[in-house]
Subunit: 706 residues, 2 copies
C-alpha cells in the first residue's frame, strides 16, 4: 500500500485529491502525538521538501510555516505564509523517505524544527483533517504517487511559454499598443501583454474603462493578429455600485458571502466596498465563471486571477474600531504603548483575522465561517474561471493562473509567486521555490521577473532573465511608482542583452514544452532538487542548483556583482555557457567542485551525462516559430535517449492521444556513434542537427533527416 489515509474530526471536501482512498483506523506510521500535535522525531540527516510557495530554502528544516493564504508583499525570510496553502511535504532521510499531505481547508502550522530542532510538529486549527502518508521507493516515486493522488496539472496553451510583458499598469490603449509596437520594432519576441486593474471601469470585473480603452475590441484583435495576446486581470471582489449588473445580479441571487446577519458581507479592496462571490458554492461559482465569456467574446484568451486570498484592505467594522482608537487617543500623551496601539489600529486594518471570522460561505447547504475554509477561496475562484471557460469552449486551452491557491487548484490553472520585490534575495527565493511548487502540483509557474515592488537594477534584471529563460511562466512585471522594467527601459546595451536572452528562451521552447507536457501527463517534476537523482552527501545539501527535466542541471548566478559562481557536479557533465542562441560554448567537466566564471551577459547550465538538449529557433512569437530543423546536443558516454513531445499547443486533443513524439536514441558503440529516431504522430521537424560531445574526444557532427 503506497498511500495510507487517516481521518480526524469533521471533514470538508477540499477538492484536492481525486482518488478515493479508504480511511484506515490503525496506527499512524512515522508520527506520534505530542500535546495534540502530529509529531515526528527527525533523524539528524533528514531533509524536508515541499510546502510549495514559501520562503527560505528548498530544504524547509529550521523554520515554522503556516498555511494561510496571505496577501503580504513583504516576502522576507521571517514570513510564515505567502499566498498559497500547500500542505504537502516529503521527509527525506537516509534510510526512509515518505510524503505527507494534510488535507484540510483550515490553517495549518508546520513547525519544521523551529521550536525543537529535532522535531516536526504539525498543528491543524480545529483538528479536522485527512492525513495521507505516501510511501515510495525513492523521492521521484513518492512525488509521482502524490501527484497521481491530486490529479494531472493544468496545461496552458503553447503561446503561454513565450515572453510576457506586464506593468501595473499600462494605463490606456495607446500605451498598450506602444509597448507592443516597441517589441515588434525592436524585433524582441513577445507573446503577451498584461492588463492590470486600470483597464477596468472603476475596478469592476468584466467591464472596460472606455475613456482609456475606447476601442478595446479592436486593440485586442489588432494585437492578436500581430501575435500579441492581452491578458486581463480579474479580482475576487465585486464592486458595490448601483446599476452594475454583476453586483446587482449577485445580490439578487444570493451569490455573495454573507455576514452573520445573512446580508452580503462588505469588504473593501481596489474599488472601495465590494462583495465576495461565494466561490465555495457551486451555483455561485459557475455563475461567476461564465462571466469570463464577456471578455472571451472580445478575443481574450487568458486571465490572471488576483486578490483571491481574499485580500481585504479594510472592513467597515475594522475602520470603525480604528476611528474609535483615534477618539480615545486624542489629547493624550501617547507613549510607546498607546502610540503603537494607535498606529497598529491602521496598519492592522488589512487582512485581519477579525474580518476573516466575520463572514460565511454556503457550501451547497452547509454554512461555514470563512476562516475555517479560508485556504479554499482562491482555489475555488480559479476553479470557477476554469469551469466557466470550459463551458465556453471545452476544447480550447486558456491561459489561467492565480495568486492564491491550495492543493488541487493546479488542475485548473497555474500560479505566479505573487508580489515579490526587486531584490537579489527574491531571485534566489524564486530558484529555491520552483522544485517545491512542482512537488505540490504547480508546473505552470514563475516569479515576476525583475521583481514587482521596488526598483530593479540592470544587473539584477539580467541575472533574473537568465533564470526565467527556464521557467514555464516568464513574465516581467512591475508595480506602479517603481522603475520601468521592459527590456528596453534600461538603455541600449542592456536591451541588446535582454533581447538575446528572450530569443534564447524561444529557442529553448521545444525542450521546455516537451518537458512540461511530459511532467503534466506523467505526474513528474520539471524542477527537482539534486537529491532526487543524486543521493550523495553534497547533492543532498545543494540549495542553488536544480535539475530541469530529463537532461539539465541549472546553476544560475544570483549574487550581485558576481562574475562567476561555485558549482557542484555530482557526475561528469557538459557545461553550456551561453550569451545568445548563436553564442554557445560547451565544455566537458568531470564530477566535482568548480568555480566557474560567467560575466553579467552570459549564463551557464549543464547537460547531464548521456542526456540530450534540444534547441530550436526564435521568432517574433511562439506560433511563428518554424522549428523545421532542431539542434540536438548530446553529452555521450554510452547511450542517450530523449523523447521530444509536441502537439498543436492550443487544443485539448492531446488528451485523446493526438500529439507527436520524436524518440531520439544516440549510442556509442565502441566509438561508432549511431543515431536512431522514431516518430510517433505528425511532426513538422524535417531535420536534426546532432552534435555528439564525448569526453576526451573530438565532437562528432551528425545529421538526421525525416
Amino acid at each position: 500500500m503506497k498511500i495510507r489515509k487517516f481521518s480526524f474530526g469533521k471533514i470538508v471536501d477540499c477538492n484536492s485529491v481525486i482518488k478515493d482512498i479508504k480511511t484506515e483506523n490503525g496506527e499512524i506510521p512515522y508520527f506520534f502525538n505530542e500535546n495534540g500535535k502530529l509529531t515526528l522525531k527527525f533523524k539528524k540527516e533528514d531533509l524536508v521538501y515541499g510546502l510549495g510557495e514559501n520562503v527560505r530554502g528548498i530544504n524547509k528544516r529550521g523554520w515554522i510555516f503556516e498555511s494561510y493564504c496571505s496577501d503580504d508583499p513583504n516576502h522576507a525570510q521571517d514570513k510564515r505564509s505567502l499566498y498559497g496553502a500547500h500542505n504537502f511535504l516529503i521527509i527525506h532521510g537516509v534510510d526512509r523517505s515518505f510524503g505527507v499531505l494534510i488535507d484540510t481547508p483550515a490553517k495549518v502550522k508546520f513547525d519544521v524544527g523551529y521550536s525543537n530542532n529535532e522535531k516536526l510538529y504539525i498543528d491543524v486549527e480545529g483538528n479536522n483533517y485527512d492525513l495521507y502518508i505516501i510511501d515510495g521507493d525513492n523521492l521521484n516515486d513518492i512525488s509521482r504517487e502524490f501527484r497521481a493522488l491530486i490529479g494531472e496539472s493544468y496545461v496552458p496553451p503553447k503561446w503561454a511559454f513565450g515572453y510576457q510583458q506586464s506593468r501595473w499598469s499600462y494605463k490606456d490603449e495607446e500605451e498598450v499598443r506602444t509597448i507592443g509596437d516597441k517589441f515588434r520594432d525592436k524585433n524582441i519576441p513577445i507573446d503577451c501583454i498584461y492588463l492590470d486593474i486600470d483597464y477596468m471601469e472603476r475596478f469592476k470585473n468584466f467591464t472596460v474603462n472606455r475613456e482609456a480603452f475606447p476601442n478595446f475590441e479592436d486593440m485586442v484583435s489588432d494585437m492578436k493578429k500581430d501575435g500579441i495576446r492581452l491578458i486581463p486581470i480579474i479580482d475576487a471582489g465585486v464592486k458595490i455600485e448601483e446599476g452594475y449588473d454583476i453586483y446587482e445580479e449577485g445580490v439578487e441571487k444570493g451569490y455573495y458571502c454573507k455576514d452573520k446577519d445573512g446580508k452580503p458581507f462588505v469588504a473593501a479592496v481596489w474599488p472601495g466596498r465590494v462583495h465576495f462571490p461565494d466561490f465555495l458554492n457551486s451555483e455561485a461559482r459557475l455563475w461567476f465563471g461564465k462571466k469570463y465569456k464577456w471578455l472571451v467574446d472580445k478575443g481574450i484568451d487568458g486571465f490572471w486571477n488576483d486578490m483571491n486570498e481574499p485580500a481585504i484592505f479594510y472592513s467597515e467594522e475594522g475602520l470603525k474600531k480604528a476611528y474609535e482608537k483615534v477618539e480615545e487617543s486624542k489629547n493624550k500623551n501617547l507613549d510607546i504603548y498607546s502610540f503603537f496601539a494607535l498606529k497598529d489600529a491602521f496598519t492592522g486594518l488589512s487582512n485581519s483575522q477579525a474580518d476573516y471570522n466575520s463572514f460565511y460561505h454556503n457550501m451547497d447547504g452547509n454554512i461555514i465561517k470563512h476562516n475555517d475554509v479560508h485556504n479554499l477561496f482562491g482555489h475555488n475562484m480559479t476553479r470557477s474561471a476554469a469551469e466557466g471557460l470550459e463551458s465556453i469552449d471545452s476544447n480550447k486551452r486558456f491561459l489561467l493562473f492565480s495568486r492564491a491557491s491550495s492543493i488541487g487548484m493546479h488542475r485548473y490553472g497555474g500560479i505566479w509567486t505573487g508580489d515579490n520585490t526587486s531584490l537579489w534575495e527574491h531571485l534566489e527565493m524564486n530558484v529555491k521555490m520552483m522544485p517545491n511548487l512542482n512537488m505540490c502540483g504547480y508546473l505552470y509557474t514563475g516569479a515576476d521577473t525583475g521583481g514587482f515592488g521596488g526598483n530593479c537594477t540592470e544587473d539584477l534584471m539580467k541575472r533574473w532573465f537568465q533564470f526565467s529563460i527556464f521557467t514555464p511562466l516568464f513574465r516581467n512585471h512591475s508595480a506602479m511608482g517603481t522603475r520601468k522594467q521592459e527590456p528596453f527601459a534600461f538603455g541600449e546595451e542592456t536591451e541588446g542583452t535582454l533581447k538575446k536572452f528572450i530569443e534564447f528562451r524561444y529557442g529553448f521552447i521545444p525542450y521546455l514544452y516537451s518537458e512540461y507536457m511530459k511532467a503534466s501527463i506523467n505526474n513528474e517534476l520539471m524542477f527537482k532538487p539534486l537529491s532526487f537523482d543524486y543521493n550523495d552527501e553534497i547533492s543532498r545539501g545543494v540549495e542553488d542548483q536544480i535539475l530541469l527535466g530529463d537532461s539539465l542541471m541549472l546553476a544560475p548566478i544570483i549574487k550581485q556583482n558576481a562574475k562567476g559562481r561555485y558549482v557542484y557536479l555530482p557526475e561528469d557533465m557538459l557545461m553550456v555557457k551561453a550569451k545568445s542562441l548563436d553564442e554557445i560554448n560547451y565544455e566537458v567537466m568531470t564530477k566535482g567542485h568548480y568555480y566557474i566564471e560567467a560575466d553579467i551577459d552570459e549564463f551557464i547550465f549543464f547537460i547531464r551525462k548521456d542526456k540530450i538538449l534540444i534547441l530550436g529557433d526564435s521568432a517574433k512569437n511562439v506560433e511563428s516559430i518554424k522549428n523545421e530543423e532542431l539542434d540536438v546536443t548530446v553529452f555521450l558516454e554510452d547511450r542517450a535517449n530523449y523523447m521530444l513531445y509536441d502537439d498543436d499547443g492550443k487544443s485539448k486533443e492531446y488528451i485523446k492521444g493526438i500529439y507527436n513524439n520524436i524518440n531520439i536514441e544516440i549510442k556509442n558503440e565502441d566509438g561508432d556513434i549511431n543515431v536512431n529516431c522514431e516518430v510517433k504522430g505528425q511532426t513538422n521537424v524535417k531535420k536534426l542537427n546532432i552534435t555528439v560531445i564525448l569526453k576526451d574526444k573530438d565532437n562528432i557532427k551528425k545529421c538526421y533527416k525525416f
Copy 2:
C-alpha cells in the same frame, strides 16, 4: 599631495576631520559635473568600497545609497539609509584607486551605478560641502591616509571585548541578577549585561525605576564584584514632565532644540512627549554630557546611546494632520487611493521629513534648521557623552557606543549596527558591513548577535556566534516579544555549543585586542576585503570572506542548513577548524578553490602564509584571564613576525607609551626553525607554546620562556 580639498557653498563644521587641509581652486581630479552632480565615469572593473553602515555588498556598485541617519528596523536590500551617515568611499580600479570624502551635515545621495551603470553620481542636498580626494599607493595606504585625516578611533576598555548579554528588557533587578547568576552557575563567560529602556522611571534619562530596581546601586556593585558590568541605555529625547529636574533645567537654560517660534520643540518617543537637547550647541552638549555622572557615581562604566538619529515616533503637528485625514475619510467609500492615503497618514507619522524641517539648532550662535544638519545629531550626542565622561574621569576608558553616527564620531565611541532581525541575510550583511565600517573609522562595532527583531533559530544562533567570536563588539540582543536568545534559552545541546564558542572568544582576545589597538593607533583596518592584500581577479570579487588583522582570513558559514561552504584561498593558507578552544584542527591548504565541510557545531578560519595566530585562556570574564601561557601557531614558509600588543586595558596610559609588546619572530632557516622574541614593557606572559606548521613537513613544537 596625498589629500586634496575642494570647497563648495557654505560650510558647517561637521567635526569630522582633524587635519587642516588647504582648499584648492583647481580642477577636481577624477570627477566632472553632470547636471549639477559630482560625476565619475566608472571603468568596467571598478569596485566601490566604503559608505560604512549600509545594506548590500562590500562592493557597493549597483545601488543607490542616501546618507540620512534613519531609524528603520527593516534593513532590507532595497533600503537606501540606515542609522549612520558615512560619506567616505574608495574607488578601486585596476590602474588607479582613490578615496573620496564628502564632508557635509546634509543628506547626500550616492548613486553608485544605479541610474546609469557606468556612472557614479554624488548629489549633496543644498550643495554645501567639502570634497576631499585621497590618493595613495594602494588601498591600505588610501585607507590609512583617510583615517589619519579623521583621527584615531575610540578605544574601549578591554573588558568590552568580553561577551555581552542584552534583551529589551530585563525588566527588574531580580531578572538582571538571575541572568548574571545563570552565566556564573553554568560557567559561561560574560562581562556585561545591558539595561534597556525599562530600567528608567517612565523612560526618563538619568533616572531609575525604583519599583523594579529598588537596590540599583547594590545590584551594580554586587554584579561588578562578580565581574559583570551593567550597561544602561541613554535616549536622545528628554521627557517633558513637571518636576523632572533635567527637563526643567534644560528648558530654563534654553538647551533644547527650538521650533520656529523659539519654543522648545516637542517630539514624541518612548515616554511620549520629549524635548531634544541641542547637542550641536557646545554648552548644551557639555551640560547633557555631565549628566552621565549620575550613573557613573552608581558604579556604571559604560553606556549605549540610542534613538539619536533622532528617531521621532510622532509630532503633535503630524498627529493633528493624521486626525484630520480621519475626519476627511469618515463616511466615504475609501478606494485604493483614499484608503492608502489614510493608512499612510499613520504609517508616515514616524521620522517624517516635515518634522525634521520644523526644528532648529543653535550652533553656538548660528541658527540652523535641523534637516540641514540632521546627520550630526547622533554624532554630537555621543560626543556629548564622551566629553562628559572625560570630564568625570579623564584617564578612564568607558564603554560607549551609539546607534546614529557620522564621520568623526568614531573618535568618541563605537556603534552597533542597529535594530537588525534574526535573518540569515542579516548575518551575511553583518559580515559584509565590517570592512566598510572599519574604513569609515568604526573599529568598535558589531551586530546584535542572533538578531534584534524576529525569532532566532538555533542554527542561526550558532552560525552567528561563530562570526561574532571575531567582532570587537560581541553582544547578543533581542527585542520584546521575540524568542529568548540567551545561550541557555535553546536547550542543553545548543547551550553547550554556544558556551564553547564564547570560551573560544575569550581565548581569542589576546589577538583581537592586539589587532584592535594597533588598528586604532596606526589607523589600520581590522577587517579588510581580500582585495586590500590580494589583487588577483577572484579576490577582487570575493564578498563572503574577509581578512581580520595581520594574520587571519575569515570564511564564516552564513547559509541555513549548510554543512560546508566554498572558500577561495588567494595563497597557501593554514585552515583552522574549531569546535572549542580544546578541539582545533589545522590543515595546510594550497592556493585555490575548495569546498570545505563544517558541521553546525564547528567553524573555520585561516592563518595566512608566514602569519601567526595567538590563543590564550578563557575565564569567567576578561579581567580574570591569566594568559601567563599563550599558544602561538605559525604557518611558516620563510619568516613570520607578529607584534602582540597589550596594556592595562582600562586607562589611557597607553597614549603615553605605557603598554607592552611582544615581538615574535619565527624563521625557517633551511629547515632550522629559530624563534626570537623581544619584549617591550612589562608583560604577564611567562611562556609561549609555539607550534610551527610547515607545508609538506611534520609540525614542530617549540617553547619560549620569558
